[in-house]
């Protein structure tokens, strides 16, 4: 049994380690092989970018060597996939080699696409990459007051990051003593401040209490020097624009025509790619599922996929269905945080933020590595 994992991020790492744990005996006996192809030898803890942007973490704290996160029985290579040949159970990688498999798992993630909005790349700060988070931190360090706009595009990964950066900015400005010289303004694409109704119900009075203004039904159309225009016809003036740009799946997915926008049509319960190839599984950001693009989603999906691949092999059929489970921490202001947990059938019921949840999230920023290794 040859299992090929494409992508060494959150989803790929968790699924590969979970499979290695379940198949220990078969791996030792040479009856099973797990092979991971990725595009980077390093693994980034992306949620840490939020903290880099406000100077609470340094970029090198976000990385581990990918090899060090994987069970030693997994073969790991940095050799990105360029072509998928599902009818032959093969992929071709950048080195020109062909790799065969019995089951393949695709977890190539998503990328920011600021180019979709004219002027956005030039006029905004985007903390979704290491370079962008550092650049924002440097801009903030030299900021002495004015109007900051946080604008949100669709689709984007990490549904909580827009709220979190806004609350964290509030604390940052307060600590620097320039809160009274700054107006924080937040824009959101739909008719409330967050897609989760219960989160919006909690966040709106928090914004009001903290003096953060907001405009809903605001979809970015174009950014110009000092002003952001919306599809809905309104304008937001800024001195500093912080954008969460729209995202797309990876180019390799689009080039291979696996799904429009780089999102692969995926069965919401089995996580198999829609269509004829039952041995193709998809997880994490690159699915087209109508759920949050978050690390926790990739994690819960990875557990289902690993269990089902092993069950398919050993008993000829799957044993579990993915129920749409997502768990997200939400950093609030004043060193407090809360969380939202939901699935296809249950909306979240977030509680009032507390300091203990904030400290738990801070601890999780380190514990993540144990979770990726499959120890948590």
């Amino acid at each position: 049994m040859k299992i090929l994992v494409v992508g060494g991020g959150m989803g790929g790492t968790i699924v590969a380690n979970n499979l290695a744990r379940r198949l220990q005996r078969e791996l030792r006996a040479g009856q099973a092989h797990i092979h991971m192809l990725s595009a980077s030898e390093r693994h980034m803890y992306q949620p840490g970018l939020l903290y880099v942007a406000i100077g609470r973490m340094l970029p090198d704290e976000l990385y581990r060597d990918q090899r060090s996160l994987l069970d030693p029985a997994i073969t790991f290579e940095v050799d990105p996939v360029e072509e998928f040949r599902f009818d032959r159970n093969q992929v071709r990688s950048k080195s020109g080699r062909t790799h065969e498999y019995d089951a393949i798992i695709i977890s190539t993630g998503s990328r920011i696409a600021p180019e979709a909005i004219p002027g956005l790349a030039e006029h905004s700060e985007i903390f979704y990459t290491e370079e962008g988070a550092l650049k924002l931190f440097k801009r903030l360090s030299g900021f002495s007051g004015g109007r900051i706009v946080v604008a949100v595009g669709v689709p984007h990964k990490c549904p909580m990051a827009p709220l979190e950066i806004t609350f964290m900015l509030h604390d940052y400005l307060k600590t620097r003593g320039i809160l009274d010289k700054t107006q924080l303004h937040y824009t959101y694409p739909i008719g409330r401040v967050h897609s989760l109704e219960n989160v919006a119900k909690w966040a709106t009075p928090e914004f009001d209490r903290l003096g953060i203004t907001y405009e809903t039904l605001f979809n970015m159309k174009e950014a110009k020097a000092g002003v952001l225009l919306s599809e809905e016809g309104s304008e937001a003036a800024f001195d500093l624009l912080i954008a969460i740009p729209p995202h797309r799946g990876m180019e390799v997915i689009e080039r291979n025509k696996l799904g429009q926008g780089g999102w692969i049509p995926t069965n919401r319960h089995t996580l198999q790619m829609e269509g004829a190839h039952r041995n193709v599984y998809v997880l994490g950001d690159t699915t087209n599922l109508p759920i949050s693009k978050a690390g926790s989603t990739a994690h819960f999906e990875a557990e289902v996929v690993a269990e089902n691949i092993v069950a398919e092999w050993k008993i000829g059929g799957p044993v579990r269905q993915y129920d749409g489970k997502v768990f997200c921490f939400i950093e609030a202001s004043d060193n407090r945080a809360t969380y939202a947990m939901f699935n296809y059938n249950q909306p979240p019921q977030p509680r009032a933020p507390t300091q203990s949840v904030h400290w738990f999230k801070t601890a999780y920023n380190r514990l993540y590595w144990a979770s990726a290794r499959g120890l948590l």
Partner: protein, 79 residues
């Protein structure tokens, strides 16, 4: 009568986050002008929010069908 069969169906049933309207906003960007998108939602709020957004932005709202506590909302991309 104009053809109103959808070129894209967005199955956003059980979607709390990002939710049906955000799914539509994401998909409509990938569609061509004139395409009809049908959103499936299991929350009644979307049956109000989607037409309201479509009208505000300038897309054509074509109607909503209710099937067993599911709302199928159709919009034509107009710009």
């Amino acid at each position: 009568m104009a053809d109103t069969s959808p070129s894209t169906v967005i199955d956003a049933r059980g979607s709390y986050c990002p939710g049906p309207l955000m799914e539509l906003i994401a998909q409509i960007k990938l569609a061509r002008i004139g395409d009809i998108l049908e959103v499936w939602a299991t929350d009644e709020g979307s049956a109000k929010d989607i037409p309201q957004w479509a009208r505000k932005v300038g897309h054509e709202y074509l109607g909503t069908e209710t099937v067993d506590r599911e709302w199928h909302v159709r919009v034509r991309k107009s710009k």
